[in-house]
């Protein structure tokens, strides 16, 4: 599995908790960087989710769920709901779930055309 740590410089920020404590679900000490193919997008509240098939070195495929900002927030920062489509090859950075499930909080999404956009908040 292509799962490696990435160093991300986090500036001090204290955004109000929108829905749940970040640390209650995700491990800020477990950054992830995954690449794969988008299988599904849920443009929903309180968070969007996009799912990516990630292939490891042995060819095994695992489907990962990435949580993001709510739809209204994304729309306001220029991330429209048709930006991401099933079949797109993408890379995502974020933080893995504490409970070991194949879930992560997303931060920076790199689209197949190279465009980078934040799909979720920084760890806090």
């Amino acid at each position: 599995m292509k799962l490696k740590s990435v160093g991300i410089l986090l500036l001090a920020s204290l955004p109000a908790v929108a829905h749940h404590s970040f640390a209650a679900e995700y491990d800020t000490k477990a950054p992830v960087a995954l690449s794969g193919v988008v299988t599904k997008i849920e443009w929903t509240n309180p968070h969007i989710y996009y799912y990516i098939d990630v292939k490891d070195e042995s060819g095994n495929v695992a489907n990962w769920a990435f949580e993001g900002y709510p739809p209204n927030t994304l729309r306001r920062v220029g991330f429209s709901r048709d930006l991401l489509k099933p079949g797109d090859a993408v890379s995502v950075t974020g933080w893995a779930a504490r409970d070991g499930s194949k879930r992560a909080a997303s931060r920076e999404l790199t689209l197949s055309n190279g465009r980078k956009i934040f799909s979720g908040p920084p760890a806090n």
Binding site: V17, N45, N72, S101
Partner: protein, 252 residues
């Protein structure tokens, strides 16, 4: 014409007699400060991404007082925090209560007319209908998440008194629970720099040792021109993945 000039002259004198700040804030037809519009206290649609913020931005929240909580509550607050806030009521999509609703990183709209202010919050579909004629709370209040609000004008400051709360919300994301004796006083003051300075005083004789006062600044969010729908229950996948002890009923 001479008479008209005289009237304008008197008006100019009257305006000159006002303080500079009183001159430069927008006012509604009844002369009260105009609080109406789209406002937000924090979040990406207000400030943009943290990495894009200049170092001088006012993004950092003002320092808070340490919550003046009674000794007996500290173990409970610690338990909530050790549980990484799994029991946080808003993680379960409950209304955040007052004043926490105003800290949500989403816009709100204040609508104002003589005798009444209505606040529509994007977060959790919350709304408040606030009489501003100085009336009293009804004496038969059932406890609710958002409480009952009544207001009066203290000069140019709208003072909102909120009571009638249930004990099912937290005052922040750090486990500060409260009782049904919570009493909140909000002071909304329109400033000349196009913001609303909001001072909030919280009192709760069952959990606090004295008043807890916080300050917020409401600004017009450059990326949000209207309040939209936020239906928290639509796809709330988080709860089974939150670590920590399960919440036991309400946040008592």
């Amino acid at each position: 014409m001479k008479k008209l000039s005289f009237i304008f002259g008197v008006m100019a004198l009257a305006a000159g007699a006002q303080t500079p700040s009183a001159k430069s804030i927008p006012r509604s037809a009844d002369g009260k400060p105009d609080l109406s519009g789209i406002w937000q206290s924090g979040g990406v649609s207000l400030y943009g991404e943290p990495a894009a913020q200049p170092a001088t931005t006012a993004a950092a929240p003002p320092p808070r007082q340490t919550a003046p909580y009674q000794e007996w509550t500290l173990a409970k607050v610690k338990e909530f925090n050790d549980g990484l806030a799994k029991a946080d009521p808003i993680a379960h999509c409950f209304l955040p209560g007052v004043p926490r609703i105003t800290t949500m990183p989403m816009p709100l709209e204040i609508m104002q007319k003589p005798g009444r202010v209505v606040i529509l919050y994007e977060a959790f579909h919350a709304f408040r209908i606030i009489p501003t004629n100085g009336g009293k709370h009804p004496d038969d209040l059932d406890p609710t998440f958002m409480g009952d609000s009544v207001a009066h004008w203290d000069g140019d400051t709208l003072v909102v008194d909120v009571t009638g709360f249930n004990d099912k919300t937290w005052l922040d994301g750090r486990g500060h629970f409260h009782s049904d004796q919570l009493h909140v006083v909000e002071r909304y003051r329109r400033t000349p720099d196009n913001t609303i300075a909001l001072e909030v005083k919280m009192e709760d004789p069952k959990v606090m040792t004295g008043p807890w006062t916080i300050n917020m600044t409401l600004r017009h969010p450059p990326r949000a021109d209207r309040v939209m729908e936020y239906e928290c229950l639509e796809n709330n996948q988080d709860v089974p993945h939150l670590v920590g002890p399960d919440p036991k009923g309400s946040a008592k």
